[in-house]
Symmetry: C2
Subunit: 343 residues, 2 copies
DNA sequence: TTTCAACACTACCACGTTTTCGTAAAGCAA
DNA sequence: TTGCTTTACGAAAACGTGGTAGTGTTGAAA
């Protein structure tokens, strides 16, 4: 077991100084060719690689970026990571991942853990609990320390930073409009509780589409689901209680549950009930019938976020001091993917 | 924008030495109470936190573990990450993730990137290409440098290290046996190419179950799929060409594709065709019909792997030198989750 | 008065790297 | 010989931390 070799060891072995070794390896002209080649050969033989930690300490940058997300076993979030990962790799960055589990405390803890030098910047999506509490001090703090943060999907207006989002309201509007265009008038909405920012926005889009088309908006046709595990029951109740011919669900899971429940009740999708879901994931593609969805490219969001972050990081290098804080919010376009659950 | 404060800055501000500050913060008795409290108050006010990088350099350990997996947008792998993440967090470790994209080169590159001090140990599952080439020098190298590696799921006998696997062969055997117990005799197998270790093992289990039950084993009923994207065509061909009453698929995706294709052909699942899939994921739960699967708890594998790795890391601290290399291979139990795709 | 211990703190080193500055030796012109 | 440049290298600081060893002062016991 040969431990990694260091400059110091090479220097000692070859009986030269550490600086000579360092310079030789960086091909400095200061060092005579003979010595230079000798050092390089030796280093190559022992497979010398500079120690990242030492470099980080010296350069005050780690070349890694932290991602904080609510869940990882989640199609959308994992596609985002994928996007980030690809861009990060391209630019020589590593990706450190922490999962907040939708808990405020874990989010804070994770951020603090990473903020002390482990990473150069954050890419994050807020946990439900954080959105509920509206407490963003941990993020402000990190930003105040000069660490760039890029938020995506679940963002907040209370924090000034770069953001990557989709136009949730417009996308929801488009989805509902398409249902209306197909002659559906009684459209239900299955969404999350309001404090989840994207849930609220999608609800707004739904409402606007109805009103613009002169369709009465009724609270009775809306259910807000807090706990995913019990959504089956709630959805079943809705289906039994009310009559409607279309549903807009803010995620795949709700949608597929609706379809399954409807089928059990003898309703046919899409004939009796058209279904559109937000977020194009794996379920929509493989459920029966396949589900029409609003695609929301997590990969694009991730790679865009990573690009924004890295750009800011590399920009800092040059100006170093107080660059003008012109934060941007990037809107990723969505589109409707028509499948079998609508006609 | 106040950058993070350091010991040095505190020392300067309070006009004491750096060591005094350091010791005060660690509550050393060497420092008089007055000074100690003054320093602590000051540090608290400026929210002092020791710099992780400096600590890593000093302690020669980073308190982070690297995960290398073939894909991240993948139910099984993301559950594994989840398991790792939880345990890691519990022990104060961060998780750095790299995706090999099933490419040998990316796997090597990622490992090299992380091996130079960024992490204390690896948890990994081999990329397809690596398994195909059988080239594991990058892993040997890392291990030789004294960095512990834990492999999971896609492992190899060519490397000596801790491993976490399931008994793929036995699990496949059990699945096929259950089909036979239900009176199925013509059982097809849809699997991956042989060089994927788990694919091969599952094929072996399938074969053994047939033979043990006195059922002829026929190559005609086996298809090995290389490219997931074109599996639909291949599967469709199989369904048209051969007659069989049950299928064992080595993953969910194959299974759901089989079901959909069978439905199109007018075959009823499970009446005409029983289907069992390996790997219990989200598709199986939500497809119609829901799919009977072999559960393979990624979370358990992840947390087990993390525990093994961390244990080894903390053990190293004590003995420091050459601990007896008694590597273990942990086998996670599986069980059959019966759903609608079988009777 | 001397000696010793307790106290309160500072100096220094190590971790691995890069980089700035310094300097000895050699070469060369005046 | 003197003065200057060039070549080839080394010393040391810096990044931030924490531990060991050391130092100087004070007060009290011998």
């Amino acid at each position: 077991m040969k431990r990694k070799i260091t400059l110091k060891q090479i220097a000692k072995e070859l009986d030269v100084s550490i600086s000579t070794v360092s310079k030789s390896l960086r091909n400095s002209l200061e060092i005579g060719e003979e010595t230079r080649l000798k050092v390089q050969a030796f280093a190559k033989f022992y497979n010398y690689k500079p120690n990242n930690i030492a470099l980080s300490l010296k350069n005050r940058k780690t070349k890694s970026i932290g991602i904080i997300i609510p869940e990882i076993v989640h199609y959308f979030f994992s596609t985002v990571i994928n996007g980030v990962e690809q861009v990060a790799n391209e630019y020589g960055y590593s990706v450190v991942i922490c999962v907040s589990d939708d808990s405020f405390d874990k989010e804070v803890l994770n951020m603090e853990m990473l903020a002390n030098g482990s990473i150069d910047g954050f890419i994050m999506s807020l946990s439900k609990e954080t959105q509920f509490k509206g407490d963003f001090h941990h993020i402000t703090e990190v930003i105040n320390q000069g660490m760039p943060v890029v938020m995506f999907d679940r963002v907040t207006n209370d924090i000034l930073c770069d953001k990557v989002i989709i136009d949730d309201k417009a996308a929801a509007y488009e989805a509902v409009q398409s249902l209306i265009d197909n002659g559906r008038r009684k459209i239900a909405l299955v969404t999350t509780v309001d404090y989840v920012s994207v849930g609220k926005l999608r609800t707004d889009g739904y409402e606007k589409a109805l009103l613009d088309n002169g369709i009465a908006f009724s609270e009775d046709l809306i259910i807000k689901i807090e706990d995913v595990d019990t959504c089956e029951i709630t959805i079943s109740e809705l289906l039994h209680a009310r009559a409607f011919d279309a549903v807009f669900a803010v995620n795949e899971l709700f949608a597929v549950t609706i379809i399954k429940t409807a089928n059990k009740m003898g309703l046919k999708v899409p004939e009796d009930l058209a279904v559109i879901a937000f977020t194009d994931g794996i379920i929509s593609k493989y459920s029966t019938p396949t589900i029409t969805t609003v695609s929301q490219s997590g990969e694009k969001m991730g790679s865009k976020a990573a690009k924004m972050l890295i750009e800011r990081l590399e920009a800092e290098e040059d100006d170093d001091e107080e660059h003008t804080e012109n934060y941007t919010t990037e809107v990723i376009e969505t589109h409707l993917i028509k499948r079998e659950s609508t006609d």
